[in-house]
């Protein structure tokens, strides 16, 4: 079972790179948004430094949405799910694995870029470590919740926008905690509460989202 | 004794009552119209199916 899981994980990460260019698309979108922020707000360093955490997290959330539409769609159309369902792995596990692959293939890369984005927007270099940790946690919850939205809208005609509408309200707490965490760090306030909340939210997502995604996949397959 | 003079808050108080009235009345009208239309459509189809 572990072997099958690992094989599926490897396959999915590989697929995200080879076909469709999901991560490249998301990274390009993320960096473009970052470039547009100073252009729309004006290049004053003080203004930028104050809004950098919030806008970075907003951009991270939006960029995480991008490749969700294809997360289950391809395998759903190819009938791969029907084959996988005949195997030992329950649909919940398949959902979890595919979301983890989405996280590793796209979310982690965006998370790795996050410190750089924040620094370019004017955050101090010392904040890099913390912003990386926070972005890793946040992007994990983004991928897991995104999986729920992607599975729910399977078989509907307007995938992309619908997923965004379903998923973004659930992205609100991590964005609040993540941006609040950076704001607290930059103003010298205690950070443990925001970091704890962010971690707790991601853990909750890890526990509950695969169940919901599995249920939605099951209903889509019947 | 009914007090309808809202003093300096006239916009806020009547605004909220007006908005509530508009929203609930239009929701009611829309629901009634939808109900009637659906009833008529269903009846027409039922009649059609009975006398082909």
């Amino acid at each position: 079972m572990l072997k099958a899981s690992l094989a599926l994980l490897k396959r999915d990460i590989g697929l995200s790179w080879s076909r469709g260019g999901g991560p490249i698309l998301a990274v390009g979108f993320y960096l473009t948004l970052m470039a547009m922020i100073p252009l729309s707000l004006g290049p004053e360093t003080q203004v930028l430094a104050r809004v950098a955490p919030g806008l970075t997290w907003l951009s991270l959330a939006l960029a995480s949405l991008l490749s969700l539409e294809r997360l289950f769609e391809r395998d759903y159309e190819d009938g791969l799910f029907d084959i996988l369902r005949g195997g030992k792995l329950p649909l919940e596990a398949i959902a979890l694995i595919k979301c983890l692959a989405q996280w590793i293939g796209t979310g982690l890369i965006l998370a790795l870029l996050t410190p750089m984005v924040m620094i370019i927007l004017g955050a101090p270099v010392e904040a890099a470590g913390l912003s990386l940790v926070a972005a890793v946690l946040g992007s994990l919850s983004f991928a897991l919740i995104g999986g729920v939205g992607a599975s729910l809208s399977l078989g509907s005609r307007k995938g992309g926008v619908l997923i965004a509408l379903l998923v973004l309200p659930f992205y609100v707490p991590p964005v609040i905690f993540g941006a609040g965490l950076m704001q607290a760090y930059l103003t010298g306030a205690p950070i443990t509460q925001a970091l704890g909340l962010l971690g707790a939210y991601s853990l909750f997502a890890l526990a509950l989202c695969p169940i919901a995604t599995g249920a939605a996949l099951r209903s889509a397959l019947n | 004794m009914i007090d309808l003079d809202m003093g300096k808050y006239v916009f806020y108080v009547w605004g909220s009552y007006g908005a509530t009235a508009v929203a609930l009345i239009s929701l009611t009208i829309a629901s009634v119209i939808a109900h009637r239309t659906q009833k008529r459509k269903l009846q027409a189809l039922l009649d059609e199916s009975r006398q082909p």
């Binding site: 309200p169 939605a216 | 808050y9 806020y12 909220s16 609930l24 629901s31």
Partner: protein
């Protein structure tokens, strides 16, 4: 009991005759409530703006109650696969969305003179705004999936996930120190609100509830007829193709 009622025809037979009485009761309660709203005294601190409360608080209560009803109906629909549960949840969504929008709007109109701001990003307002987005998402998802049983299942899952927001709304005033006042009607030690204001509030709340029940029954009936219509049409065109 629930399974017994879940038969659409039995449901219509029982509730269609009741519906007009609910409507009349709602209208009478609205008349009495509106009279009380303006017959009640001004608040010594808030002046006339306290009358906004009689719209705002019932709308906010209903915004949450309707979502809870949707969640419960979705739960039954998912466990026992009653199509009536999905019809009930689907019919409730637009009404709940309207109440949510009203609670936000009247709250904004109350906040401006009292707090000096139209909008404050405090926990309660943010979480109610998210509730509104859930209603929109629910309706969008229902509209986007053509297959009825699949739409029912997907939206039921979404509605149940969204239930986590309700405790956040309820306790947001306790968790975060905000401009919003804490609970003053439903409290362990009895309501802290003056009886002169409690009465119009409770009557209006009952009027809102009755209006909801009436609209809900009406919309359930509409949806049941729509489904009968679609089923019949499909059967007719199938018969025609057969000929």
């Amino acid at each position: 009991m629930i399974s017994w009622l879940a038969n659409p025809e039995r449901f219509s037979r029982i509730f269609t005759p009741i519906r007009p009485y609910v409507g009349v009761a709602a209208a009478l309660m609205f008349m009495w409530g509106l009279y009380l709203c303006f017959a009640s005294p001004e608040d010594y601190q808030q002046g006339d703006t306290v009358r906004i409360m009689y719209m705002h608080v019932p709308a906010a209560w209903m915004a949450m109650a309707v979502y809870l009803i949707m969640g419960i109906a979705s739960f039954f629909g998912l466990i026992w696969r009653h199509s009536l549960a999905d019809v009930a949840a689907k019919a409730a969504a637009p009404i709940g969305a309207a109440f949510t929008a009203l609670s936000l709007l009247t709250g904004s109109l109350w906040g401006r003179p009292m707090w000096g701001t139209w909008w404050e990003w405090d926990g309660r307002m943010t979480s109610v705004l998210v509730l509104f987005l859930f209603y929109i998402g629910y309706m969008a998802l229902h509209a986007a999936i053509e297959d009825e049983t699949r739409a029912a299942k997907s939206t039921a899952i979404l509605a149940m996930i969204g239930l986590v927001n309700l405790p956040v709304i309820k306790f947001s005033v306790d968790w975060w120190n905000t401009l919003h006042q804490g609970a003053s009607v439903v409290r362990a030690d009895g309501p802290s609100i003056a009886p002169d204001m409690l009465w119009p509030l409770l009557v209006m709340a009952l009027a809102f509830k009755l209006l909801f029940v009436w609209l809900w029954l009406l919309r359930i009936d509409t949806e049941l007829m729509a489904r009968r219509y679609r089923a019949l049409r499909a059967r007719l065109s199938f018969a025609e193709e057969g000929n």
